[in-house]
Amino acid sequence: MTFLRIDHVTKQFGSVQVVKGVSIEARKGEFVVFVGPSGCGKSTLLRMIAGLEETSEGSISIDGEDLTHADPADRHVAMVFQSYALFPHMSVFDNIAFGMQVNKVPKAEIKARVAEAARILQIEPLLERKPKQLSGGQRQRVAIGRAIVRKPKIFLFDEPLSNLDAELRTQMRVEIAKIHREIGATMIYVTHDQVEAMTLADRIVVLRGGLVEQIGTPIDLYDNPANLFVAGFIGSPRMTLLSGKVESASAHGLQVACPAFSRPQSISGPFARLPQAGSQVTIGLRPEAIRIDAANPVFSAKVEITENLGGSTLIYAVTQDGTALIVPAQERASVRSGDTLPLSFSTAPHVFDAQGNNLRLP
């Protein structure tokens, strides 16, 4: 059942349209991540759900109630800001209790609910401190605590981890996933970091230029990106993209020639539609689809640098036509800079047409 329904919403700032007609639905308890490059409208969309930005057109409803133009206070949503937005002159306790104090919740209940939130977030010893006396991670917990105690219908997170260092970010990511499991609330999370999106989301909404590019589960987006943008944005290391030309197309598959390839390759379907012979296409290879293959090489690449991660090695290389690619090698590869790697691809690669749409059927 749909809990949050965003229906054809747009947002106009003066003459600039930032959100250009977006429709998204989320189920109760679902963790939905909005991801996209900066300026894609993801934060604006989140603020529209919160009521901090007016919705120009379209409608937003939560739990069956149309809240498109409702006051933020009447929406029963809580938001965790990128800057934490803690009240600097109040103790941690007062910060968490603020909403309940404003809404005249009885003192005993405030105390109990703050204690409960503090327990979940393990910030019990910090309740008397001021935000200034806390580390970044602790401030983040307090901000989440302030959201939890209100028992909101929806949690909104606006890039909550971007002010933390890498290690803490990973740790807090796990914490947020745990909190989601523990309280089972509907969460909408905005990030530009596709790793956060992949690891946290039940479903990911990829946005670009105020439009939805694709909505799907992380695996869905990884395996079946709708277009070149999603393919390039989701997945780390990135998908390798090789430009080529269709030599022939039939029900059995395509025959594609790439400047990088030593000879034209046949790529099997099924395809949503067949490209015309002679048209430009882009071949997309996930890193794990590329393998070092001395026996039957399809293309080769010159090694630029290798990154030894201990358990595995990342090989940064450049193909003959100048495309940079990354090959993960499980074993401790004994390649050096300047070596030429013989490569082939294992699974059927993605094929994108000249407009960037993925031709492969999921």
Partner: protein, 301 residues
């Protein structure tokens, strides 16, 4: 011993750094010394003498201070000044805060702030002259206005009961804009997301003002109250132009009384003694306020 050598060079570097620091402060300090500190010390010296500018000053010890304690005119002027401060400061601060918050939340237009600050750009003397004409009991615009609405004409600056209130009103009119502008600047330092967070928590405008704006504005509030309080205790030019201490001494504020003693009665020693007492009182009041308002600490990062 390399450790010791390093210590020495570190100490030398510190000393050099301190010297450069003093050099930077020097120009301002020289001005302060010549125009503030020396005259103050000199005033304290003169206050211990009997001096009418004609003859050489005669040392009288604390005699002037003893006279002051039993001088009814001095205590009257202190009372009148305090009344002026009490009319002036609360009204000016509250009005300034109101204007600042309203222009911050409703209209951030530059012309609006320019209008608000405009009275401050007029000199006190000009403001006093303009208001003297407007408040004239017979020919004044204000009484014409009041009569139009059926209110009987008032004496204003000519009435012993209303003169001090009228002077305070002129000062409030002139200074509220500056107070508002200072508060407005203080408000810009409070990040907008705090208000967004509060709104999501269900806080209304009044709650946000009371629980966010006011506490975070505290250092600015302290600055504004301290400076305007000191300024109010030293009110002089509006009084000098508009009432000259009258009618019947109802606006004889401390500075006017000092001026009379010094330049009308040629009692330099006595005038200096009153100045020193005012100076000491203001320092005490300022220290107290700074302590109460924790002016040196901001909650903002």
């Amino acid at each position: 011993m390399p450790g010791r050598a390093r210590n020495v060079s570190l100490r030398q570097r510190r000393r050099k750094e301190a010297l450069i620091g003093y050099l930077f402060v020097a120009p301002a300090f020289v001005g302060f010394l010549i125009f503030y500190l020396l005259p103050t010390v000199r005033a304290v010296g003169i206050s211990l003498t009997d001096w009418n500018l004609m003859r050489a000053p005669k040392f009288v010890g604390l005699g002037n201070y003893a006279t002051l304690l039993s001088d009814g005119n001095f205590w009257h002027s202190a009372k009148v000044t305090l009344a002026y401060v009490l009319y002036n400061i609360p009204l000016q601060t509250v009005l300034g805060l109101l204007l600042a918050v309203l222009s911050d939340r409703l209209a951030r237009a530059v012309w609006l702030r320019a209008t608000i600050i405009a009275p401050y750009l007029i000199s006190n003397v000009v403001a006093a002259l303009v208001w003297m004409m407007m408040l004239d009991p017979i020919l004044g615009l204000v009484n014409a206005f009041l009569t139009f609405f059926g209110v009987s004409p008032q004496g204003f600056l000519a009435s012993p009961d209303q003169a001090m209130v009228s002077v305070a009103a002129i000062s409030t009119w002139r200074h509220t804009g500056l107070t508002a502008l200072l508060f407005y600047a203080g408000l810009q330092a409070i990040p907008g997301y705090l208000y967004e967070a509060a709104r999501l928590e269900g806080a209304g405008e009044w709650t946000m003002f009371r629980r966010i704006t006011l506490p975070l504005l505290r250092p600015v509030l302290a600055f504004v109250v301290v400076t305007s309080l000191i300024g109010s205790f030293q009110v002089f030019d509006v009084v000098a132009v508009a009432t000259a201490g009258g009618p019947s001494n109802s606006t004889r504020v401390i500075l006017w009384y000092i001026y009379e003693n010094a330049f009308k009665f040629n009692r330099m020693g006595y005038a200096s003694a009153i100045s020193v007492v005012l100076f000491a009182t203001l320092i005490l009041v300022t220290l107290l306020q700074m302590r109460v308002l924790r002016a040196d600490q901001s909650d903002l990062d």
